[in-house]
């Protein structure tokens, strides 16, 4: 892919050239994809998810791998958010994709729901199933790996005493916020995550979590209230 980027950047100065070249390149990649079924070619050719699904449904099971490649990290993140346990999340990913594989032939591409929404719902369902199973076995505690995620916040800038208003949020605040989010109950935490990490719409969140739109609104609002509260407690 680095090569592809390089190619397109070469004529970056002239947009007309760049577009023409990108077009030709996409056609080549599409052709390569048709012959080899290569995931890289499919992505480079800009083959849409819907197109891939159609190909799958028309009898090219190999394109499923491309779908997998495209969504495995999203699916994983969602499952991780729900389960807060790496191993569990991985298993959930596997189950999710097997579910998808099973259900994909019947998936309606022309239907109203985005594929991603549908995918997240399957993921969340799988994850919740695992969550129920593991909590019944008393294992539902956020794992150490999950706690370690906080380290990711280290790269945020440290508080700037001179110009505190310059940054939206500094490292300490972020850490506090992360801990606050973590303290939210699952029912509130998930909408927050889906909304502010995965940028799903309220409608999509409702579909993914299988709740009403109003519920989404109220839960998000309540979550904010709670977070503000927690943050104020933190400041004190």
């Amino acid at each position: 892919m680095a090569l592809l980027t390089l190619q397109t950047d070469l004529f970056g100065a002239d947009p007309r050239f760049r577009d023409a070249l990108a077009g030709v390149w996409r056609r080549i990649c599409a052709w390569v994809f048709a012959v080899t079924g290569s995931a890289a070619a499919a992505n480079a050719a800009g083959i849409s998810t819907e197109d891939l699904i159609l190909r799958f449904q028309r009898g090219q099971p190999a394109v499923f791998e491309i779908l997998y490649d495209r969504y495995k990290d999203y699916v994983y993140r969602v499952a991780y958010i729900v389960l807060r346990h790496e191993q569990e999340a991985e298993d959930a990913v596997q189950e999710t994709f097997l579910d998808v594989l099973r259900a994909l032939p019947d998936y309606d591409v022309q239907g109203p729901a985005r594929f991603e929404t549908w995918l997240y719902r399957v993921t969340v369902n799988r994850a919740k199933m695992r969550l129920r199973r593991s909590s019944s076995s008393g294992r539902h505690i956020a794992s150490e790996e999950w706690d370690d995620l906080e380290e990711g916040l280290e790269r945020l800038p440290s508080p700037d005493t001179e110009r505190p208003e310059r940054e939206v949020i500094d490292r300490e605040q972020a850490q506090a916020l992360w801990r606050a989010v973590d303290q939210l109950p699952d029912t509130h935490r998930l909408p927050v995550m889906l909304r502010y990490r995965e940028s799903l719409s309220y409608e999509e969140i409702a579909q993914v979590l299988g709740i009403g739109l109003g519920t989404v609104k109220s839960r998000l609002f309540n979550a904010h209230k709670k977070l503000l509260e927690l943050m104020q407690q933190e400041r004190r």
């Binding site: 994709f97 945020l156 916020l177 998000l220 609002f221």
Partner: protein, 1224 residues
């Protein structure tokens, strides 16, 4: 109107842009009025921004781990592939995929299935063609030695095979059985392809000849030269007239390839033959007997045995040597040959040589010719004594009469000689008869034999008036049976059922032919025959079995003998008798031979004609009314001795046969006429000899020739064995004929050869004699004998070739597919890096292990021990491992593993087919083999990768099974050549252990041995042959080295200066006067030779052996008589010793018509003292007289005495040398 209720959750939705426009406007209106809500909105906005940043940062690290990704991918794969195999929907989907350009996996599966089905069907169709029983066999008789540049022939017979040679029961169908057994009888029935000519007819086992079989004979030299000698087809007698000219290649080894090809099949026979010339060498010496210290002069005439042409100088050198009686080499030398094929050499016999029969030997190539030479300290007889009895044999009780005759060599009777005849053998007593010779030199005697029988020994000694003695011995047989009768059937034994020729030989007890009338009774039938002067008669009878001839012989003198002769018979159920009309033929004539067949069922008789050990013609004739008649045109190439072998082939391997020898005269002999210019000569004269060489029988046809001339004292020739004219017969006759020439009295080979030319009635006797002599001669079997069954023509060859090509392509493609599938799987599961790392280490380990395993374990130890069994054991292991892989792939629904397993199965099946094809002798060609070998290596790599990939995926069991399978595949390949059915170039190439040895094996050199056997051309060995230096001359014996072309005329020394006297001094008495081995005539065949005669008074025998550039040979002889009116001869009666008296005999021969009175002219006393001087004497006319002179030599040494005998009209002076021994 403003809304006073706070928006609450709506505020967040507004911030997120999730409110419908109407609600959003309402919230905006409220916000404009409500400061609290504005504060809240700001707080929410800050919170939102904080959440975005925080969550992004925290969860950016959350990604699916690599391991999990790999695992999930694998699971998805399994699922995907399982889905593909589900029901007809999957099938349709698979088909539609194919149409759209299927991915690699599916494509490989489809290709594999297609390839497998196509090849298996076609391979089965082709290979299941039943192998027909051979319906023809080819018999070849010929020689393993061929003369380059010569004519040769080969007997090729194609006939229906006999049941014994076939080894199949008729009607067995002759199927190979392999394919039906392998693939099931049902399939065999449905797929069998019947070849056109594969029908087996039980009637084919009759041994009947097969016509129209194409026969090709070609010769391949070691240096790669190839020459087609003959192409043709068999005739109605199943034989092809394979005559050919052998190419003029350098001598050495070559391959004779005989190919027979018909609609029924083809046979190919390859036999090693030697290209080598053979020679005939005729050795001529100046004389037959030598005294120690004399020089032997040898002349070798070398002709090519095949062509009877002179062997030119560039041929391999001739080595001449002289061996003493014990076989030790006295001297040896290499001679070069002139364009006439003549080389000369001389060697001195040592002074101290013992009396023995020496052997002069000529060696050229592997031909060796010996000539016996007598070496003894002989004394030349002063005159010739002959003894004749009235009859050559006697019966007991008879009276023996006879004469003893004495005559000088120059033809003067020795009159008045005292004769002592000593007879031994009469009743064990000795009888002495004494008397004198009369004026004619004759002494007559008669004595009674008494009752004794056996050999009578007569010894006559004559002492002439001069006191010199000469003697003779003779044997006379005494036998009660006056006439001996022998019978010799034509074939050695009687052949019952056909007319046999039986030669009847009648002879007297001394072996002389008896001219008798014969009355013979055989099987109750009476025959009356006359033998004629040669004592030979021909009896024709048709015997029923062994026969006894009751013979009564009666000669003109009234002698009668009676007796019975038993003749054995050939007891075989079938007999063949070959009858040749004559024993000798001229070139250009037609030889007619009749084969008489009795019993047996041979439909044809074949006649092989061999000459000089080489088959030159092959004839065949049908048997009609019990006889087959052959006519052979005797062209000039057939000159010489011919061996005729007639044979008939019976069912099975049995043969009936008979052989004959005949000689073919080239019709171009030479006559050598020698004409002296005078009737007789005086000592010291120069004789002018004219030699004229002409074609025999053609007057005025002079020929330019090389003549070997020797002029030798005739007295030496008392020991001559062969006449010079024998040389010609020598070259024409075979050794066998020469060995048998004494078998029949009266057979004279030169005469026989001439008889062939003359063909008149007088010489018929020679012909009969020769036929009788050669009757029943054993003829050596032809060395090259081979039989091959015509392999049925393989009608499937083009199909097999096409299939082999297809299989090669398949075997090249499948491993690539397999590797692609494996690599793709590894890439998808993200294991490729691990596998490659593993493979690198594993490969290194294998590099160390493989040479040890493959070489040490398999090749070095197990393979020789188990052989093909090892291959099958490994095969079973491979099948088991494959089963594990397939089972695993099936139960785990692992599509890729299934594909790998299927590809492997497919590969092994195709490889099996191809190995079987290659094992049947189909040549694949180097590119195809290279493709297959490299593809096989790819396959092994692919399987190993797959195995390690599986291990990394955690499926350890099947992973290691797959890895081991890769190893077993290598071992299978290495052991495949041990299976006979799979043995082929391809198997050898794939199974070459060096391929798998890796760099370590190559470096350690443990592959050196198999590589050496595989790679034929190697560098030339560094060994340099050191030329052996041969000493030209033996150091201890200074030999005269005469210039080969120089005429050596004796005397060679200047005569001693003597005062002019009326009678010249005679002092030179050589035995060999002239030895000119290479005298060349002019174009008119003429040669003049001036011969200064020596001082001997004797007759000189002139022998001339002429040969031309064409190998024509002729000989002539003449006598030169040297005499004078008065001849003085001096002899010492006792040994001469210093200080002792010695008596010298001075004999005078007066050849004049009047008496002569002789006085002596003696040298002055110097070195000796005269004790008694000789008295003058008178010699009567034509008579001799002698006086004695007693002297006492003073000292040891050589005493030279010049003595003169002076008469009134004539005189003689001689110089003698006395060797005086030291005093006692």
């Amino acid at each position: 109107m403003a809304d006073h209720s706070h928006p609450g959750p709506e505020l967040l939705a507004y911030l997120d842009g999730e409110l419908p426009p109407e609600k959003a406007r309402r919230v905006e209106a409220h916000l404009a009025t409500c400061a609290a809500c504005r504060d809240e909105l700001a707080a929410l906005r800050r919170m939102q921004a904080g959440l975005h940043t925080t969550l992004d940062a925290a969860l950016s690290q959350a990604r699916l781990s690599r391991d999990a990704d790999r695992r999930i991918r694998g699971v998805i794969h399994e699922q995907l592939e399982r889905r593909e195999r589900r029901g007809w929907r999957a099938g349709i989907a698979w088909l539609s995929q194919l149409l759209r350009g299927a991915p690699l996996l599916q494509f490989s599966q489809a290709a594999l299935a297609l390839v497998l089905v196509l090849f298996s069907v076609s391979a089965y169709r082709i290979l299941s063609v039943p192998v027909a029983a051979p319906s023809q066999e080819t018999l070849v008789f010929g020689d393993t030695r061929l003369a380059p540049g010569g004519e040769a022939a080969l007997r090729v017979i194609v006939r229906a095979p006999s049941p014994t040679t076939l080894g199949h029961a008729p009607g067995s169908g002759g199927e190979s059985g392999l394919w039906p057994a392998l693939l099931g009888a049902a399939a065999a029935v449905s797929l069998r392809v019947e070849p056109a000519e594969a029908t087996w007819a039980p009637s084919a086992a009759t041994g009947a000849p097969v016509a129209n079989v194409e026969v090709t004979v070609s010769l391949l030299s070691e240096s790669g030269l190839s020459h087609v000698l003959y192409t043709g087809a068999t005739d109605a007698y199943g034989t092809a007239d394979v005559r050919f000219a052998v190419p003029d290649w350098p001598e050495g080894q070559a391959q004779l390839v005989i190919e027979a090809s018909s609609t029924a099949g083809e046979a190919r026979l390859v036999r090693s033959v030697t290209l080598a010339r053979s020679y005939k060498v005729y050795l001529m010496s100046d004389k037959p007997a030598y005294r120690p210290g004399q020089t032997v002069y040898l002349r070798a005439l070398v002709l090519d045995a095949q062509t009877l042409q002179p062997v030119a100088g560039d041929a391999p050198g001739v080595r001449l040597s002289l061996l003493d009686g014990a076989g030790r080499e006295v001297g040896a030398g290499a001679i070069s040959l002139s364009e006439y094929g003549v080389g000369v050499w001389s060697v001195a016999i040592p002074e101290a040589a013992a009396e023995a029969t020496y052997t002069a030997r000529a060696e050229i190539g592997d031909t060796r010719t010996d000539k016996a030479l007598m070496v003894s300290d002989y004394v030349l007889p002063p005159f010739r004594v002959s003894l004749e009895t009235g009859r050559s044999y006697y019966a007991p009780g008879e009276v023996v009469t006879g004469t003893v005759t004495a005559e000088t060599f120059y033809g003067v009777p020795v009159a008045g000689g005292q004769v002592l005849l000593r007879v031994n053998g009469i009743d064990s007593a000795q009888l002495d008869l004494r008397g004198d010779t009369d004026a004619d030199g004759v002494f007559r005697f008669a004595f009674d034999l008494g009752g004794s029988a056996g050999a009578l020994s007569l010894e006559a000694e004559v002492v002439d008036t001069a006191g010199r003695a000469a003697g003779i011995r003779a044997q006379v047989p005494v036998s009660r049976q006056a006439i001996r009768v022998q019978a010799m059937p034509e074939s050695g034994v009687l052949k019952p059922g056909v007319e046999n020729v039986v030669y009847i030989l009648a002879s007297y007890p001394d072996g002389a032919p008896a001219d008798v009338a014969l009355d013979i009774v055989a099987d109750g039938e009476a025959y009356a025959l006359e033998t004629g002067p040669y004592g030979l008669a021909v009896l024709r009878l048709t015997p029923k079995g062994a026969t006894t001839l009751d013979v009564t012989a009666r000669d003109a003198a009234g002698l009668v003998s009676q007796g019975a002769v038993s003749l054995a018979a050939d007891t075989a159920p079938a007999r063949l008798l070959l009858h040749a009309e004559r024993a000798a033929y001229r070139a250009g004539e037609t030889l007619v031979a009749t084969a008489l067949v009795a019993g047996g069922d041979a439909p044809y008789v074949y006649l092989d004609v061999a000459r000089a050990g080489q088959l030159v013609a092959t004839l065949a004739a049908p048997v009609e009314a019990g006889r087959a008649i052959f006519a052979l045109d005797l062209d000039p190439a057939m000159v010489g001795a011919l061996e005729l072998r007639a044979y008939g082939l019976l069912v099975g391997d049995a043969r009936i046969e008979d052989t004959r020898l005949v000689v073919v005269d080239p019709a171009q002999g030479l006559d050598v006429a020698i004409t002296p210019d005078r009737a007789d000569y005086a000592p010291g004269d120069t004789a002018h000899l004219a030699f004229a060489v002409e074609r025999a029988g053609v007057a005025g046809a002079p020929v330019s020739a090389l003549v070997g001339i020797s002029i030798v004292d005739a007295s030496v020739f008392a020991l001559e064995t062969l006449p010079p004219s024998f040389a010609r017969a020598y070259f024409l006759a075979s050794e066998q004929m020469l060995a048998r020439r004494d078998r029949v009295a009266g057979l004279d080979l030169p005469d026989l050869v001439e008889a062939a030319a003359a063909g008149d009635v007088a010489t018929r006797a020679q012909d009969v004699a020769a036929r009788a002599a050669w009757a029943g001669a054993d003829v050596a079997d032809r060395e090259l004998r081979a039989t091959a069954l015509l392999a049925p023509r393989d009608t499937t060859v083009p199909a097999r070739r096409a299939m082999a090509r297809g299989l090669s392509a398949g075997l090249g493609a499948l491993p690539v597919l397999l590797l692609a599938v494996v690599v793709r799987r590894l890439r998808v599961t993200g294991l490729s890096g691990h596998v490659v790392r593993r493979m690198v280490w594993g490969g290194l380990a294998l590099l160390v292990l493989m040479p040890v395993m493959v070489m040490g374990l398999v090749v070095g130890w197990l393979l020789p021990m188990l052989g093909a069994a090892l291959f099958f054991v490994l095969g079973a292991i491979a099948v088991a491992l494959l089963g594990v892989i397939l089972a695993h792939g099936w139960t785990r629904r692992d599509g890729r593993l299934q594909v790998v397993g299927a590809l492997l199965v497919g590969y092994l099946v195709l490889a099996g087919w191809l190995l079987v094809l290659a094992g049947r002798g189909d040549d694949l060609g180097a590119p195809a083999m290279a493709l297959i070998v490299s593809a096989f290596l790819l396959l092994v790599l692919g399987v190993a990768l797959q195995g390690q990939g599986l291990v990394l995926e955690g499926r350890r069991g099947v992973g290691w099974a797959t890895t081991v399978l890769a190893l077993v595949l290598v071992l299978l390949a290495v052991t495949a050549p041990a299976v006979p059915a799979l043995r082929s170039e391809l198997a050898a190439a794939v199974g070459q252990p060096a391929l798998y040895a890796g760099p370590l094996g190559w470096l350690t050199g443990c592959m050196a041995a198999p590589q050496a056997t595989m790679e034929a051309p190697t560098a030339a060995p560094a060994e340099v042959e050191k030329p052996v230096e041969v000493e030209d001359e033996p150091g201890e014996m200074p030999l005269p080295t005469p210039s080969p072309l120089a005429t050596m005329a004796l005397p060679t020394e200047e005569p001693l200066p003597v005062p002019a006297e009326p009678y010249p001094l005679r002092q030179i008495f050589p035995e060999t006067l002239v030895w000119d081995p290479e005298a060349e005539t002019d174009a008119g065949g003429r040669l003049a030779l001036d011969v200064p005669l020596a001082d001997t008074v004797t007759a000189w025998r002139v022998t001339a052996l002429a040969s031309t550039l064409n190998g024509e040979i002729g000989a002539g002889s003449a006598q030169l008589v040297v005499k004078q009116d008065l001849v003085l001869e001096v002899g010492a009666l006792d040994e001469v010793r210093a200080g002792e008296a010695v008596t010298l005999t001075l004999s005078v021969y007066n050849l004049q018509a009047d008496p002569e009175t002789v006085r002596w002219e003696l040298p002055p006393d110097a070195g000796y003292a005269t004790l008694r001087a000789p008295e003058p004497l008178t010699a009567a006319a034509a008579s001799g007289a002698s006086a004695t002179w007693v002297i006492r030599p003073a000292r040891a040494g050589t005493l030279e005495l010049v003595i003169g005998a002076l008469g009134e009209r004539s005189g003689d002076r001689v110089q003698v040398s006395l060797d005086v021994l030291p005093e006692r």
